[in-house]
Each structure stands twice: as C-alpha cells, then as structure tokens.
Amino acid sequence: MASETKHAGNFVEKPRTIVALREEIAAGRAKAADLAASYYQRIEQINPQLNVYLSLSKERALEQAQRVDAMAAKGDPLPALAGIPVGIKDVLVMKGAPATAGSKILQGYHPPYDATTVARLEAAGAVLLGKINCDEFAMGSSNENSAYGPVRNPVDPERVPGGSSGGSAAAVAANMAVATLGSDTGGSIRQPASFCGVVGVLPTYGRVSRYGLIAFGSSLDRVGPFAANVRDAATLLHVIAGHDAKDATSSPAPVEDYAAESDKPAAGLRLGVPAEYFAEGLDPEVRAAIEKGIDALKAAGCEVKPISLPHTKYAVPTYYLIATAEASANLARFDGVRYGYRSPQSATLAEMYRHSRDEGFGAEVKRRILLGTYALSAGYYDAYYRKAQQVRRILAEEFLRAFAEVDAILTPTSPVPAFKLGEKTDDPLAMYLADIYTVTASLAGICGVTVPCGATAAGLPVGMQVLARPLGESTAFRVARAVEAAGIR
C-alpha cells in the first residue's frame, strides 16, 4: 500500500488497482479473505478520526471472499471484481444490514432486500465491506448534515470531504476501500470526489438502476462509482450499468465495455469550454489547475474550443425547486408506521406522524421538505414547480445543442476546493451555491466524470468535470484518462 503525503498528518493512501489485485488473487499470490481483513484493519485504525463507515458487513464480506478464494483455488475464471473490497453509501440497501440514509428516522431499519447495484457488484465478485456515512437523505454538500456526525476529508481532517457522498469519496482517498458506490442528485458524487482527489462518475439518467436507492429527487437521482483511477471507475460502471426491470426509468440501451473504451486515446475529440463556468466566483487556484488540464488535453491532440451555455446561472434555483419538490413527496413515506423510528408519545395517528418526523428528521431535511411542499402547494405550483420544469427543458436543450458541436465539455467540478467544517453551515444558500457547476448535468440528464486535475498551493485537490451527451460515458472516460495521464500536480 503506497502512500502519498503532502499534508502533515493526513490520511491519504492510494489503493492498488483492480487489475493488479484481481490478478494476484487469480494467480493465488493473494487471498481475497486476507485482503478483506487488511481493509477492516485499516478501517478500525482510522475510522475513529474520519467517521467514514457507519456499519460493517464483516460476515457477508468474509463469506464472499471465501467464495472468491475457492474459485481461484479451483482455477475457475474470476469475474471482473473478484475479491475487490468495495464500500456502499448508506442510501443503498443491503439485505439485513442497517440502512440509515444518515438519518435518525431510519434507526433500527434492516431492509429485507438488496439494491440492484449491490447485487450486481456482488455477482461480479466484489467484497462489500460495509455502509458509508453521508448527508441525511443525500441532502448536503459537505457531509455535515449526517445525523451520525460529519465525515472528515482525508487530505485535511479540518476540512469537509464534500457531500452528500462524502464518505464514499473519503473511503477511496484514504484507502478504506478500493472503490465505492455513491449517489448523485445535484453533484453528490462529483463534488466530494473532487474535494478528496478521487475519480467520481455521474452516469446518464437511466443508465444505472435506482432500485434499492433511498429516493431523494427521483427525476434526478443517479447511482455511480468512485475509484482511485479512471479505469477502475469505468470497470465498476460496466458492472452496475444496464437495464433493470425493477426500475421503470432504466434504459434498455446496450452497455459498453467502459474500461476498454477508456483505453482509447482522446486525440481528435472535440472539447468545449463554456465561458459561464469560468466566471465570477471561481477560485483562482482552481481556475489555474483546470487551465493546466485543458492545456494537457490540447497537447494530447484534442481540439478545444470555447462554447456558451447562457442559461447556466439559472441552474441552481431550478435545481433547488425541482429537487425539494420531489423530496417532499418522496419523504412522505417516513411516517413511523412501516419501518424505522416511531415517536413513543403520541395519542393519535396524526400526532404520531408529526412527532416521528419532527424527532427523526434533521434541520436541512425539514428545510427542504418545507420548501418543496411550499413550491407544490396550491397557488404556487405554476409559479415555482412548473416554471422550474420549463427552465429545466431550456437547460437540457442547451446542452444537447452544444453536443452537436463538441464531444465533451470541460469545467471545474467545484468553484472552490474543500472548505473547513462549519464554514457554511449557517447559510443554506451559500451551501447550495457550492453545487453551481454540478446541478446543470443533473437537470439535463447527461453523464460526466470528475477526475483529479492538480491541487492548490495548500495541497487541496482540484477536480475537472468532463461532461458528455446521454449514454456518452465512454467519451467522458477517454477524456478523463488523458487528464489523469498528464499527471498534473
């Protein structure tokens, strides 16, 4: 386990590649069971400082590792992720394992089924280590909204790992898993991946099944992978992508071999740089790092040209109206009746609903339920929710027009590097603006990859967001590979 140190006392350690680990297991030079044990050891050592894992699924992981080891011993062909330790964001359900969604309202809940993505990872040989901390119901940009305490950034524990999948990003950055799954509704995979210096993937809407994902904003929610390098992220996406009869919005389009596609050179690809993502509010150090990445892509033979996405500035208000409206409907199911927390002192059914929800939900979740309920309520529906859906169409069409001219679009993933814990907790609006470069792709349904692209002088990672047209994941991976290969410091 090699380590990179820039910050004194940091927890950054790069996991080994999936290809290398799998080959050692196949050749009998390493055992999946030992690998899992070494990961649990590292988790035990540093989880108290970073607060990444909420629960461990040791028994299930060990059984799976032994199955892989038995296959390897017999010389059977091993599946793509044989023996690879993977962590799961705690908004995806694993049969029998606690599922909290970072909320008190799901305390004590043990779902009786596996999410499709969880089942597919395991069928591909992955060893599932446990459930990973996140913002409550995936609502947040810093992981400070978890009812189980914030996750800390392995690069600098005084800083946030980003959110809402902060734990999934931190786990890979600190080598507490080789790869992880997260969910992204408005940037919740991409922004934490950029804050922690790892790769994160936003698959096209419908590319990966949402079955078993605890819903936030159903027209926006995606499940996607985190890994330490682009090829490993592509390998995971290949495993989890594809049609699922249990998700009515799942796409029947064939799945490409993303890892193999990512090996193709990026030379000749046409890349667009939208001026609106480099305007006021962009940290100068982030800008400088992204410009180096763009230069590296030019050097790799890509054709880079300026483009314009003029409605970009309307994306955050559009997103917060649509996401909160959908959340207010999705979170109506948490009522203390069928699972999770029920307030013990209630004389009537209505009181029981109110008390359970009041005691079970945190402040940000309540704020978004209230905003969403308001936006959907009689007299305001047309002015807020319908208006936002109209602007959403304008934003989506603007992207599709741009993709007629370019194969991918390059932007910073976040306007700023990882900020300090507590820095934005008193101002929800300031926190929402942290998502300014990520909510656009969420609304448009397109795909993207965030890839490490240098760092600030203080050593904080910067991520470049590579966006591609619907089902254009292979293109995004190719571009991200070229950025990665440039080794920008």
Partner: protein
Amino acid sequence: MTAKVTVQDVERVAELAHLELTPEETGRMLKDLNAILDYVAELNQVDCAGVEPLTQVGELSNVTGEPRPDHPEPSLDRAVVMAEAPESSGAFFKVPKVIER
C-alpha cells in the same frame, strides 16, 4: 414569484408536510425560506412562453414498448417485512387510534 413567506405560511406548509416546528424552528425556517425564494425569483427573468415542462429526462415512455406482461411473481416474505414495523400484529401495522369518539 416574489411572495414573501409569513409565519402563517410556514405553519400551514409544516402542517401539510406533517412536521411540527418549535417557535425557534419556525423563525429560522421563515428566514431561510424567504432567502431561498428571493434567490429562486431569478427564474422570472427567463422567458418560458411556449416551453413544455420537462418532467422526465430519459424520454422513455414504456420500456417494453407494450404493456408489461402480467406475470405473478413472489414478493417479499410478509413475516420479514412486518418484523421491521415499530408495532404490528404480524398481519397488520398497528398505529395509535384514528377516530376520536
């Protein structure tokens, strides 16, 4: 889209959403909702005349192209599901009384 939210609005919306807010929470939410709604009022600048609302990005109308075949399939075991309920009779979810008399 520039409506100022009042304490009564917050209380009404909280009731619709089955949330109970303390007076402090109501004050905080009033401030936050007004700040957020002031901000989203920017959308008034966008001319949306004749634009169809986008409700679903996947543009799939029916994945199978025809109604799904009606095959009965086993669902989750009732005992396993009911075991997750805070209170149940085994067959039904139990809740506090609904009708006052």
